[in-house]
Point group: C2
Chain length 149, copies 2
């Protein structure tokens, strides 16, 4: 299930930065785009293994990094020492609220946030690259919460 448009973006990027175009990298791209929601690098590796792919762990980690560099996916970190990725394909930018009890992740966007990072970077003498805005909170509805923990 190949997304040709995304594949083209990746191909162009790889040429630009003089990295080789290999079938393994596109396998990882396909798998990453198929995910709805957030996933860890190792999850993706296991998933690929289960579908009989020969792609190695090293290649998965390496390729996810490349995909994040060309903005096809985003790297997220919710403070639990685990890198998560999510597809950017056809998604609007958003931030995350994480329940500290059950780990539930809710996405939101707020127009006020978007301009701040660039502005602050400039003011401090930096070129903005990306930002992360995470809210840690607790489900008000206790019954709905704790489910996962």
């Amino acid at each position: 299930m190949r997304n040709e448009k995304a594949a083209e973006v990746f191909r162009t990027f790889l040429k630009q930065v003089k990295n080789r175009i290999t079938p393994e990298r596109f396998e990882v791209l396909d798998a990453a785009l198929e995910h709805h929601g957030h996933f860890g690098a190792d999850d993706l590796y296991v998933q690929l293994k289960n579908s009989k792919s020969k792609v190695s762990r090293a290649t998965v980690y390496n390729t996810l990094e490349l995909l994040a560099q060309c903005d096809l996916i985003s790297k997220r970190n919710f403070g639990d020492n685990l890198n998560r990725y999510e597809s950017n394909y056809k998604r609007q930018t958003h931030d995350h609220l994480i329940c500290v009890e059950c780990g539930k992740i809710v996405e939101f966007s707020d127009a006020r946030i978007s301009d701040i990072p660039k502005e602050i970077s400039e003011k401090l003498g930096f070129d903005m690259n990306s930002y992360s805005f995470n809210i840690f909170a607790r489900c008000k509805n206790e019954k709905e919460c704790k489910k996962r923990k």
Copy 2:
């Protein structure tokens, strides 16, 4: 070099949550408050070891978690799979800009940010606990940058 005020806050907290008051925990508190800037849990452990303390790694990790719970220190995560802590003692709240090249960390505060997390939490049906706002950027002055890497 004990900070009695902070120690009192910690003591009260420990009683509240029915945790024992042990000398080791106050050793960790003292060491944490003495740090200016950010530090990793293991850094603190090594530092304590070097000053002949008998406090174990497990206790350091455990205590830092407790100190974060009662807001004497903050737990930070800059996306590099390493938990960092920083003293909150007499500090105003602030956020961080991290250079993706050299790792330099700059603190800033912006009044616009502070109200947003609570407001969004309420809107989504959560009780706000904390938030993290990190900007990833590049030093404009290249000479000053790359020093560390």
